[in-house]
Amino acid sequence: MSDIASGHTRPPAGALARLAARPAVWASLAFAAALMLLPYSGPLFHALFPDLPRPLYTRASFLDLALSHAGLVGLASLVVVSLGIAIGIFVTRPAGRDFAGPVDTLTAVGQTFPPTAVLALAVPAIGYGGAPTVIALIVYGLLPVVSATIAGLGAVPAAPVQAADGIGLSPAGRLVKVELPLAAPVILSGIRTSVILNIGTATIGSTVGALTLGSPIIEGLSGSNPAYVLQGALLVGLFAVATDLWFDELERALH
C-alpha cells in the first residue's frame, strides 16, 4: 500500500504458524464456520428454545444474508474511500482551501447525528430497500474518512514536504510519494471507523427493507423469536469483529 509497508522485519517462521498467531484469522474462521454450520443447527436451537415451532431462520440463507450485508457495506465503502480521500485532498490543496473550514464543520456536526436517524431520513428521500441503505452508509461513512484525511494530511511534518519540493517533485508527485504515505495510518483509522460503523448501520438497514444479517434479528424481535435474534446477532458480531481485526493487521503492516 505504501513505501513504509514493505519494511517488515519479522523473524522468519513458518507461514502457517504466523497465520495462526493472528486473531483476525481466527475470527474469520469462526465467522465462516458459523455461516456453514448454522443451517444444520436446527436441533441445537430446538433444544435451546423448545417452545418455538420454527427455531431456525429460513426465510433467506445465512450465506445470502452475509453476502448481501457485505455487498452493501463494500459498495458504500468503495465510494466512501475514493470520494472521502478525494474531498480530504481537495480541501487541503490551495485550490480548495476556502472549503476547508466549512467541510471541517460539516463533518464534525454530521458525526453527532445518530446513524439510525440518517438511515431513517434516507427513506422519505429514496424509498425502501437496499438503495436508501447504501446512500445512508455513504453519507454517514464519508464523515470519518474526510476528517481523517484532513487530519492526516495536516499532520504531515514540514521537513519531508520541503525536501520533496527541494528535489523538484511536482505538487501531485509530492502528494502521492510523500504526503499520502505519511498520512496513511491516520486515513486508515478513519476508514476503519467508517467501515465498522457502517457494518452496524447496515444491520439496522433491514428495518428499511435491505437484506442483511440484521434481518433475522429484526424479524426475531418483532415476532418474539429469540432464536432468530441469537442467530443474526452471532453472525453479525463475528462479521464485525473479524473485519475490525483485519484492520488491526493492516494498521500494523503500515507502521
Binding site: P102, I217, L221, P226, V241
Partner: protein, 410 residues
C-alpha cells in the same frame, strides 16, 4: 425561474489568486455561491412541498410558485438572490453579518412559505389532506442553516456565543411552531396527534441515556484508572472495550435478551422490578457497555496527560494519593474528561434510538413506527428529534468544555 441568471455567474473557485492570500484577503465566498446555485436548481426542478389526499398515500410534488401565492414565492426567491449576492461581496465582518441575517431570514421564510402552502392545500382539499416538506424545501433550509452556521462560526468562534445564537434560532422556530402558524404541515400534525406520547418517549430517551451514563461513568473511570496504574493491563483492557464497540448495537441488544429473560424466569423477583429480556434493562446494560470505552479512554488519557512533575510536587507537599487525584490530577485533566463526556453522551443518544427495537422506548419508537406504517412524517419527527437532541448535547458540552478551558487560562 428569473433567478437562474443571477447565481450562475459563479466565479470558478480555482480562479482565485495564485499566491495564497490568507486571512483578511478580499475575495468572494465560493462555497456560498455553490450553496445558492444548489438552491436555485432545487427550486427550479424539485417540489417545495408535496401534497397528498391523505396520510399514507405518497404526495405529488408542487414547485414553489405553484404551491404558494406569488408574493410569498417572490419573497423566498428574493432572499435566495440576496444570499447569492452577499456571497460576492468582498470578505469582511459586514459580509458575514449580512449572510447570517439573510440566511436566518431565509430559514424562517421558507418554513412559513411551506406552512402557507399547507394551509392552501388544506383549504382546497379538506382536513385529511397532508402537506409534507419537499426536497427543494429541505435543500433551501439546509443550505440556509449551513450558511448561517458557517457565517456565525467566523463571526463568533466561541462555543458559548454559538450556543446563544443557536438557542435564539431554535427559540424563534419553536415560537413559530407554538404560534400555530405551522399546524397545517403534516409534520406538525404527526406531532399534534402524539403530543403526550412524544413527551413520554423524549423523557424515556433521556432516562435511558442517563441510566447508562450513571453506570458507565463510574465503571469506565475505574477502568481508566486501572489502565493508568497497571500498564500491563492497558492493552488487553482497551482491546476488550474496543471489541464491544465493534459489535453492532442491535446485536448486543439482541444477545442480552436471552440471558436476561432466563434470569427473570429463574428469579421472579427480578421481573417484579421490571428486569426482563426486553425493555429498559437490556437497553441500559448494552448502552453502558458501549459507554465504557470512551469514558475509560478519556479518564486514562486525561489523567496520563498530567505532568509527573506536578504530581511529584503535590506529593512533596504532603498530599496523599487520593488528595492528589482529587485536587491536582482531576482539575488538570478536566478539559479532556469533559471532551470524553461529550463523546459518550452524543454516542449514547444516537444508540438509544436503536433501543426502541427491543421495546425500551425512546425517540426511536417514532422512527420505527413510521417505517412500519410508511408514514414519512412520523419517521421525520423521530429522526429530526434525535438529531436535534444529539446536537443540543454536543453544543452544550462543547460550551462547558470551553468555559472550563477559559476558566483555567488566567
Amino acid at each position: 425561474m428569473s433567478l437562474a441568471g443571477e447565481a450562475v455567474v459563479a466565479p470558478a473557485p480555482e480562479a482565485a489568486a495564485p499566491a495564497r492570500p490568507r486571512a483578511g484577503a478580499p475575495r468572494a465566498n465560493p462555497l456560498l455561491v455553490l450553496i445558492v446555485t444548489g438552491m436555485v436548481v432545487a427550486l427550479g426542478s424539485l417540489g417545495f412541498v408535496s401534497a397528498a389526499p391523505n396520510r399514507i398515500v405518497s404526495g405529488k410534488p408542487l414547485a414553489l410558485w405553484v404551491a404558494v401565492e406569488p408574493g410569498v414565492a417572490a419573497l423566498v426567491a428574493a432572499l435566495v438572490v440576496a444570499l447569492g449576492a452577499s456571497a460576492l461581496i468582498r470578505s469582511g465582518v459586514w459580509r458575514d453579518r449580512l449572510i447570517a441575517l439573510i440566511a436566518a431570514a431565509l430559514l424562517v421564510a421558507s418554513l412559513l412559505a411551506a406552512a402557507h402552502a399547507a394551509g392552501l392545500v388544506a383549504a382546497a382539499s379538506g382536513p385529511v389532506a397532508r402537506t409534507s416538506l419537499g426536497a427543494a424545501f429541505w435543500i433551501v433550509a439546509a443550505g440556509a442553516a449551513f450558511a448561517l452556521a458557517d457565517a456565525v462560526g467566523r463571526l463568533a468562534p466561541h462555543p458559548l456565543a454559538q450556543s446563544a445564537i443557536a438557542a435564539a434560532v431554535v427559540g424563534a422556530l419553536l415560537a413559530l411552531a407554538a404560534s400555530g402558524a405551522l399546524s397545517d404541515l403534516s409534520l406538525a400534525r404527526e406531532f399534534a396527534n402524539r403530543r403526550a406520547a412524544y413527551g413520554a418517549e423524549m423523557l424515556r430517551h433521556l432516562a435511558l441515556v442517563g441510566g447508562a451514563l450513571a453506570a458507565a461513568l463510574p465503571i469506565g473511570t475505574l477502568l481508566g484508572l486501572l489502565a493508568l496504574r497497571r500498564p500491563g493491563w492497558r492493552k488487553p483492557l482497551f482491546a476488550v472495550l474496543n471489541l464491544i464497540q465493534t459489535i453492532p448495537s442491535i446485536a448486543i441488544f439482541g444477545l442480552l435478551i436471552g440471558p436476561l429473560s432466563a434470569l427473570s424466569g429463574a428469579f421472579p423477583g427480578l421481573r417484579a422490578l421490571g428486569i426482563g429480556g426486553i425493555g429498559a434493562a437490556p437497553a441500559v446494560i448494552a448502552l453502558t457497555l458501549y459507554g465504557l470505552l470512551p469514558v475509560a479512554r478519556g479518564a486514562f488519557t486525561g489523567l496520563a496527560s498530567v505532568p509527573p512533575a506536578v504530581i511529584d510536587a503535590a506529593r512533596g507537599m504532603g498530599l496523599d494519593e487520593r488528595q492528589i487525584l482529587r485536587r491536582v490530577s482531576i482539575p488538570l485533566a478536566l478539559p479532556i474528561l469533559v471532551a470524553a463526556l461529550r463523546v459518550v453522551v452524543v454516542q449514547l443518544t444516537g444508540l438509544t434510538v436503536v433501543a426502541a427495537l427491543i421495546g425500551a422506548g425512546g425517540l426511536g419508537v417514532f422512527i420505527f413506527q413510521g417505517l412500519g406504517q410508511t408514514a414519512t412524517d412520523l419517521i421525520l419527527l423521530g429522526a429530526l428529534s434525535a438529531i436535534a437532541l444529539a446536537l443540543v448535547f454536543d453544543l452544550a458540552l462543547r460550551s462547558l468544555g470551553e468555559l472550563i478551558a477559559t476558566g483555567e487560562r488566567p
